[in-house]
């Protein structure tokens, strides 16, 4: 391994890692919002909303994220959506992971025992009050861990913006492989940085999971 | 510049050929990832320490890094050490190894969950450790993970779009080819998405059938 070269180029990778982190955070936030809305739609009393929610999940999960991203970034201008690569990345990946999070959140909500809703409704709580005060607090504990899995996938998924030239970790690795012909070294630097991001996030999720379990 | 899907039929043969390549690469990589997953699981659990430790390290690295990055490593790495593989083969190897690592995690857990009594019974009959593993433990372990492996294979289909980046002329690259000629990205990415969606539906239906059959054989 060419350590000298690795020492020379790693600052560029560090800078790129910050972009990957920024992308991950924004994508996760948008994904959570889409997931919450999607789950609400899928559990709605109105069949039209349920149908929209199901179509969202099915279409997004049934096609590659890369195609969705390309459709948004390259095809968007044809229907009047003009986005820079970074924004297209956040929106495309956020809407994508949101479909997976929809199923995670919905799964956690339906996993809460039906008796809980019944008990709350019996006391006179409305559907929404029972949801807010009884079901969601319990579902929140169930969804931390699986949402962590979604977020782990999302961090690795941010690499998909490399082909549309967002200068993040994978794009940087690709560029330096091209200019140095040292694929293994470049893989190790960027891989290590991905591992750090994933490791820290994983610990954050585990910490949150422990906290909600104790409370 | 509005939408105009009338340009699509002229490129239908290109797109269809791309779809066939996507199916081919998915089947090839899925097969590699299945048998590779079993092999990796056995190595990760039973190989001697000097093999097992570095192996586990790389498995861990592959689980924590993006597939796209791994594809770059394999494609350019092989070239660097003098092996110039066709893009298709490099794509199959990259996809197959990536998912083999994920499958291996599932199979390892499943092997450990197979009743210890099963190995003991086989050993009592005179089977060697390897024979017991091959004939008794692994068939049971694999059957138990058919549904989650199936989910991995569906993920593999969608991730096969990534090999377009290293120049495999599958569905995504075919769409890009048509776009290069027509400057109509929206139309052709929608068409590509429709094809992926249909292949995905067929795969899901097929997996449900396989699941039913393996469940029935319990």
């Amino acid at each position: 391994m060419d350590f000298e070269l690795m020492l020379r180029v790693y600052p560029f990778f560090l800078k790129a890692a910050l972009v990957t982190i920024e992308l991950s955070v924004l994508t996760a936030l948008l994904g959570l919002a889409c997931g919450a809305l999607g789950a609400a739609a899928r559990l709605s009393r109105l069949s039209a909303l349920r149908w929209i929610g199901a179509a969202y999940v099915s279409l997004i999960r049934g096609t590659p994220a890369l195609i969705q991203l390309f459709l948004l970034y390259f095809g968007g201008p044809q229907i009047g959506i003009q986005l820079d690569a970074f924004s297209a990345g956040v929106i495309g990946l956020g809407v994508n992971i949101g479909a997976y999070m929809t199923e995670t959140i919905r799964g956690a909500i339906v996993a809460v025992d039906k008796g809980q809703t019944e008990a709350a409704r019996t006391l006179g709580l409305s559907r929404w009050q029972a949801m807010r005060k009884v079901v969601i607090p319990q579902a929140a504990r169930l969804m931390v861990r699986p949402l962590g899995v979604n977020i782990n996938a999302l961090i690795k998924g941010t690499a998909l913006v490399a082909p549309i030239s967002v200068i993040e970790l994978t794009y940087t690795a690709q560029r330096y492989i091209g200019s140095t012909y040292k694929p293994f070294e470049m893989f190790m630097i960027s891989g290590a940085l991905y591992m750090v991001i994933i490791y820290v996030t994983g610990h954050g999720v585990a910490w949150l999971d422990r906290r909600v379990r104790i409370a | 510049m509005g939408l105009d899907f009338t340009v699509v039929p002229k490129f239908m043969d290109v797109i269809l050929l791309g779809a066939l390549w996507t199916i081919a690469i998915t089947i090839a990589a899925a097969t590699l990832s299945f048998f590779g997953g079993i092999m990796f699981a056995v190595i990760a659990l039973y190989a001697p320490l000097p093999v097992r430790l570095p192996f586990r390290f790389f498995a861990w690295l592959f689980m924590g890094t993006p597939l796209l990055l791994q594809l770059f490593l394999i494609y350019f790495g092989l070239v660097q050490i003098g092996i110039d593989l066709p893009a298709f083969v490099a794509g199959v190897i990259g996809l197959g190894l990536h998912f083999a690592v994920y499958n291996s995690e599932l199979i390892q857990a499943s092997i450990l969950a197979v009743d210890k009594g099963q190995t003991e019974a086989a050993r009592t009959l005179g089977l060697s450790r390897m024979q017991a593993l091959r004939k008794v433990v692994i068939p049971q372990a694999v059957r138990d993970v058919v549904p989650p492996i199936g989910n991995n294979m569906i993920a593999l289909l969608k991730d096969s779009a990534l090999v377009s980046v290293i120049g495999v002329s599958e569905l995504t690259l075919s769409a890009q080819l048509a776009i290069g000629r027509t400057y109509r990205p929206f139309e052709f990415y929608v068409v590509a998405a429709v094809f992926y969606y249909i292949i995905n539906l067929c795969m899901e239906a097929g997996l449900r059938r396989i699941e039913r059959r393996t469940q029935a054989s319990r």
């Binding site: 019996t122 006391l123 005060k133 409370a215 | -």
Partner: protein, 257 residues
């Protein structure tokens, strides 16, 4: 008593799932302060009938009245929701599996609905919780979480939670069926105490001894119909119907008494 208007009035209740009829034209009148037990084999429809009273399992036909209010009247969805949420505040219900809220303390379980729906202050709600917990003998566990309580204790808290809404009638859906035998009595004691305070109660139960000692009236249901009803001494000592006799004989053999 007999010429008094019924307090809870179920008229020609019918319930079917597709072609399966679970309740076949059942009527039941309960006077204020009366305690009615519903017994019968599993699948007889007794829980379905109970759950129809507060519309957890809506009837497909028939009417349910509480005093002058029809509980299951036909209204547009939004109005119906407002109506049923109001009505349910007057009908306490206790479940077989307690259904305590695991994310809330005993105090939180009891104060949730009064604070949310009756807009009690924190102090008022706390006083109410203490009062109800005192009644069921659980005051010392007010800050425990449900996971740290025994089944019997959970059920007593569930009763206190229902009582905190000051209901006009209490429904018990096999309240002791999920309990270990040695924990049944503490719950029965609480229910007896309520009976002595003349709470109107409708009780679905497998505890024949308890039904006999506490209830004013017993209904035996089988396959969606009321086979026989009457005062407990008649139903348990001198049942007139063959099916009632069979059920009681099997039940007594089964419970080894």
């Amino acid at each position: 008593m007999t010429d008094q208007k019924p307090f809870v009035d179920i008229r020609n209740a019918q319930k079917s799932y597709g072609s399966l009829e679970v309740l076949k034209d059942i009527s039941l009148q309960v006077q204020r302060g009366q305690i009615v037990a519903i017994i019968g084999p599993s699948g007889s429809g007794k829980s379905t009938l109970l759950r129809a009273i507060n519309d957890l399992d809506p009837l497909t036909g028939g009417e349910v009245w509480l005093e002058d209010m029809q509980i299951n009247r036909k209204l547009p969805h939004r109005q119906y929701e407002a109506h049923i949420n109001q009505v349910r505040q007057d009908i306490g219900m206790v479940f077989q599996h307690f259904n305590l809220f695991p994310h809330l303390s005993v105090r939180g379980n009891i104060t949730l609905a009064p604070r949310l729906l009756k807009h009690l202050s924190e102090a008022e709600a706390n006083a109410l919780a203490e009062e109800q917990l005192e009644k069921v003998g659980m005051l010392d566990r007010i800050d425990y979480f449900p996971s740290r309580l025994s089944g019997g204790q959970k059920q007593r808290v569930a009763i206190a939670r229902a009582l905190a809404m000051k209901p006009k009638v209490m429904l018990f859906d096999e309240a002791t069926s999920a309990l270990d035998p040695e924990l049944v009595d503490e719950v029965n004691q609480v229910m007896k105490k309520l009976a002595e305070e003349h709470m109107t109660m409708i009780i679905v139960t497998h505890e024949m001894g308890f039904a006999e000692s506490v209830c004013d009236r017993v209904l035996f249901m089988d396959q969606g119909v009321v086979v026989e009803e009457g005062p407990p001494e008649v139903i348990f000592r001198d049942p007139q119907n063959e099916r009632t006799r069979n059920f009681l004989r099997k039940h007594l053999e089964g419970s080894n008494r």
